[in-house]
Symmetry: C6
Subunit: 266 residues, 6 copies
């Protein structure tokens, strides 16, 4: 019934792929060595699930600041696994769900995964799945408890599952004392050097010639981020790409981008 | 099906226009250069959504003190886009809705917008949509979570969406740690100079002759706002227009207006 | 359809008048110049709504200590407007209503008012409508949010609405940061001088002859309210009238009234 | 329809009388002059409602420590009014009622009373009706709000109503800022002198002869309540009567009573 | 209808007896004079209810630390009354009941009791009936309020009722300010002397010969409980009997018991 | 009907065994003498339930840090009892259950157990059954109360029950003041010495030759855990086995394991 399971999950796979590709719409820019390392770490986890008899379940936490690229990287790792069952659980598909409906949905995805010999589930943006709000704080304890139990629930004999959960609020998981639910975690850092910024701007072709890019880099260098008490350069790749697009509408894209970046980090 | 989508949303557009025009019933008075700048910034956002491939979704926050003109300006920017789908989401149409009903309504407007190639949604007065009350504080976390997710949800391929959200309580969004949901924000300032006050009073024709206006401005200047520890002049255009109308009923409109203004700022 | 609207609201008017008259059962005693001023201020608001094109909606807050006469004065102003739609919203008619039922009822009254060219709604005792309790504090945030939105919702084109809201807890509206919902406010002060007390007692005919009244006033004067750390004289007209009736049962009304007053203020 | 109203309420009256008599099962012992004064004050209130045109509604609060005799005295005043509608509202008849059911029940009794020309309603043990619990504190704000509104709601024209509410927790009404709902209040004090204790013991015939009573009083006097830092004598008549019955089972009633009293006050 | 009432309650009695006997499964060991005193005090209460006309309702609180024997003693007193209606209300029969169901059940038992001329109700473990949890604290205020009202509700004419309530958390009743609901209370103390321990061990026959018992007592005496800052001996009879049974499985029961006792009190 | 009861519970037994075996999938490694002691202590409890007439109910708490092996050991003790009714209650089978459904499920398992002459119930991970979250803290008081009552509820005559409850949050039971619900408790300690680590690694065959193992142990010894302010070695067997599997994928398993261990304890 291995064959049977495979055929059973195929349609689910097709649907998921589209969703997964959408979240990496702007591709993966290899602006730093760290990007490759994360993808490699991810494929090691994939191999562990594929090979080890003793750990049919591996649960990893991918965390980093807003817009650092967590969702895109988790989806990329998942797609590269080529496992027959790949599924993205995202808050976007659960707007307006009651707590009970959310838990039922989560539960269903996990139960579905148990039918495939090899599965990977991306649980995106845990803090949003929990309706986390620091005022109170308010959150859905029911969803949290369900996640923690599902993250630790061994799949049935002969089934293997990789869970990739993302969050930009790792500390709330510590406060909730549920970090032991994860076997390992991977940290995604934001862009912090001018070189990385330059790499990205070149990649998205914001400027029509090298001169403009040079002028832009020159202005950035003159902002002297992180010197003499000035704020450090620290921006997620997602935000940087968005700024580049706003700048593109401006008569003077270089100036617009630099001023956006300065306002962002201050 | 681009054509199809267009025809499908046309009726929605008609309805929305009426609502939008109603909230700028008293027109836009160009009492300061800042008013033009905001309208220009707004049309830049409109162009970004229309043109950029990489940012099919742009979400802007328009904030400022009560009565500063946020709703009127957001509606004006929306109307000037000439996008085929324009919709105003306002607390006024949701009085007595349960949290679930509000979220369903929000969700529906966004889903509707995804049918149009180009859409703009004005989400007016976020703090009222959330039922925000500083005592407690109390608010609908469900509505907030739905908004944050909808604000970040990419429209389907080939669809583009501009979101203009307004609030007079920007700080609660900071406290809730959801400011990263916005790509950019625009600040609407209140009226702070005697020249701006004079411009408005002339525009609404409160006085029948220049003498009366001069006398009024004279009295205002004698109040010496902001001097020697006196309170600063600081009034929203909405409130100023309302005071002008009250003054109009008075035998001595100039005196009435001045005393209202003084009481307001103290 | 102006005529139509008028005829449509007539029955509502009849009912309302009875309710309004009941709350001024003991009439308005002109014990101080301030009473006239408030009634005059009220009729200015009525004229503004009747005349100004720019402010089809005016919302005023009438506040003062318990029993100061807020309800009676609001009702009197409303009745004197002679608007075709006049309605009193009172907690008394909503005992045992759920939050949803209250909001539906409020909503209905406002919707009804939009059918009349000229309307006045008295929203009596906001703190009771909110089920306000300082312990906690507890209150219905839903009712508050509905009120704030309804207070700011422009009636449809060609309709005009005056809202007179009363409360003895103005400070909770400040704490809830909703005072900007009101265009103006009027403060009702309690009785604070012996002359005002005397005026009221004479008006209700507590004593059968001038001698008794003189003796009463003499005793009051000897109580030396507000002197040497003694408590100030400060009593609502409603309470004073109630004390007068209790005193009327007593063999020595003058003495009874004086001792009641002293106990009340201490 | 005055006649009609009277006949309509008669059955209700019959039922109520039985309930009222039950709560004064042990009669009223005139152990102190204060007992008479309270009954006289009560009948003054009855007369005010019967006679005054301006105060068709009077609401009095009867308060005192647990077991001081509040319920018995309120019921006695009510029964002595001879009003055609007399009703006791007691927590005992509402065990297990939801908040909504309680409010409906309260509302019904008041509505019923409006059919009688003259009515008295005893609202017994407000703190229990509210499910008051100092931990939290927890209580039913809904019931409180209903009571406050019903306490201030004028009966329809030609109807008159006396409300006698009892509580052993007057301070929570202060904390809830609803004391202004009462026109007046009466304080019931506990037993505080040996003479009063003696009066009660004689009345209930605890001892078979004067000797025994003398011995008991002697022992009590030797306990020197309130002297040298010893606790004051302070006991409700209800508790004292209960102690007397326990003592009656004992071989040495005098000794048992004295030791119970000492344990009670310490 | 006295006869009728008797026959009516007989079946209830039969059921109750079994339940009552079960909670004293291990009998009553007279390990100290205090045990007899409590049973005697209990029978005095029984006599008061049987005999006194003025107190047809007596409500007593039996309290003490966990495992002190509260339930067993309350049940024993109840059974010894020989009243025709005896009922044990226990949290064990209400697992999973909603608050409403619990209150309905409580209410039913009391209503049933009113049909018998003489009744005794054991309300076991009030803190568990209330779902008491010191974190929060959380508890069912509804159940508490129902109990307080039922504890004070006089049975109908000619009916008499003894209520024996147990708790190991007397202080929460003080905090909840409901101690005045009880006419009297009885304190059950734990075992505190080596003699009492020895008495119990002999009674349950833990050791096969006197030597072993002596050795055990010797070891206990050498533990020098309460000396030089060592913890006091303080153990409920229930726990002691449980320890004895564990010790019985051990090759060296004396040593096992001593070490258990030491660990328990530390 | 002893025979009958036995046959009745047989099917339940079959199901449970599979579940129980699954939680000890990786077997029990006897890495320390303490492991044997716990299994022996467990079988003493089994014997007490089987033999003692006075304690037909024994409730033990098994506690220790996350991953220490609590579930596996509890299941092993349960399976070794050979009682006809063995059941594992686990949060994994209750994902998405409402509080009421959880309590009903718990209740059913206990009621089922009462049909068997000898039963053992493993209540796994109490903190997860309670939905415990330290933020707030939030938890299901209903489930806790049900557990406490079920843990103390004597099975019917002739039935005997052993309860093995596990938790990694023993302190919350102390805070909730419910520790007296347990007759005894057993503490499971994590791995703390290099010898124990070595024992486990050998057992799971992480290295292909002794050299590699030696190199690994050498590196561990050079980490000097617990010396000079370095963190102590402290890891659950579950985590250690998981680390071994991750290391197995690495080209240099020894290095990978050592670095994982260092990161874990820091
Ligand atoms: N190296 C990269 N890593 C991740 N994303 C990249 C990279 N290069 C380009 N991108 C693009 O940047 C965007 C990253 O956005 P993504 O939604 O993954 O960020 P995120 O951290 O999940 O944001 P959020 O905190 O809002 O959830 C995507 O559009 C992705 O295509
Ligand atoms: N320059 C201007 N900008 C905005 N509004 C203007 C301007 N000139 C005139 N107005 C008029 O002032 C009013 C502004 O009210 P608007 O409701 O937009 O304020 P707001 O800031 O949204 O108030 P609130 O805080 O109550 O939501 C409108 O009637 C509008 O027609
Ligand atoms: N000058 C006056 N102003 C107001 N009320 C007056 C005046 N003279 C007499 N009255 C009478 O005094 C009473 C005032 O009571 P009213 O209910 O209006 O007070 P209130 O401030 O609304 O009280 P509450 O705080 O309880 O709502 C009415 O019976 C009214 O007829
Ligand atoms: N002078 C008295 N005043 C009141 N009650 C008296 C008096 N003399 C005897 N009694 C008897 O004392 C008892 C008083 O009990 P009652 O229930 O009225 O007290 P309470 O203050 O309402 O108690 P609680 O605080 O429990 O509600 C009644 O049985 C009543 O018959
Ligand atoms: N003198 C005694 N008093 C009470 N119980 C005794 C006595 N001697 C023996 N026992 C036995 O001790 C046990 C006492 O347990 P019981 O359940 O009554 O204690 P408890 O105080 O109600 O405990 P908990 O605090 O858990 O409710 C019973 O099994 C009873 O048979
Ligand atoms: N001596 C041992 N004791 C317990 N478990 C062992 C032992 N040796 C090997 N194991 C294995 O280690 C794992 C222990 O995991 P288990 O789930 O029992 O830990 P746990 O303490 O219940 O974890 P959690 O805190 O997550 O509930 C099981 O796979 C078990 O087979
Ligand atoms: Mg993301
Ligand atoms: Mg606005
Ligand atoms: Mg009023
Ligand atoms: Mg009473
Ligand atoms: Mg007990
Ligand atoms: Mg476990």
């Amino acid at each position: 019934d291995f064959e049977h399971a495979l055929s059973e999950v195929t349609p689910a796979f097709g649907v998921a792929e589209e969703e997964l590709q959408q979240v990496v719409e702007n591709g993966i820019i290899h602006y730093s060595e760290r990007v490759n390392e994360i993808l490699k770490d991810g494929s090691l986890l994939v191999e562990q699930v594929r090979n080890s008899d003793r750990t049919p379940l591996v649960c990893a936490l991918i965390h980093g600041p807003p817009g650092a690229g967590k969702t895109a990287l988790a989806a990329t790792i998942a797609m590269q696994s080529d496992f027959p069952f790949i599924k993205l659980i995202s808050p976007e598909t659960m707007v307006g769900f009651s707590e009970g409906q959310k838990i039922a949905q989560l539960s269903k995805v996990f139960t579905d995964s148990y039918k495939s010999p090899l599965s990977v589930i991306v649980v995106d943006s845990i803090e949003r799945l929990l309706d986390w709000n620091p005022i109170g704080p308010r959150f859905s304890n029911g969803v949290l408890q369900a996640l923690v139990v599902l993250f630790g629930k061994r799949p049935p004999k002969g089934r293997r599952l990789l869970i990739l959960a993302t969050t930009s609020h790792r500390s709330i998981l510590t406060d909730m004392d549920v970090l032991s639910a994860f076997d390992t975690d991977m940290s995604i850092s934001p862009i912090t050097t001018l070189e990385e910024v330059g790499h990205c701007l070149r990649e998205v072709g914001l400027f029509h010639n090298q001169n403009e890019l040079d002028r832009c880099m020159q202005m950035l260098s003159e902002s002297r981020f992180g010197e003499d008490g000035r704020p450090e350069l620290l921006v997620g790749v997602k935000k940087l790409l968005s700024m580049a697009e706003m700048a593109r509408q401006d008569p003077d894209p270089a100036y617009k981008l630099v001023s956006s970046l300065i306002r962002e980090v201050s």
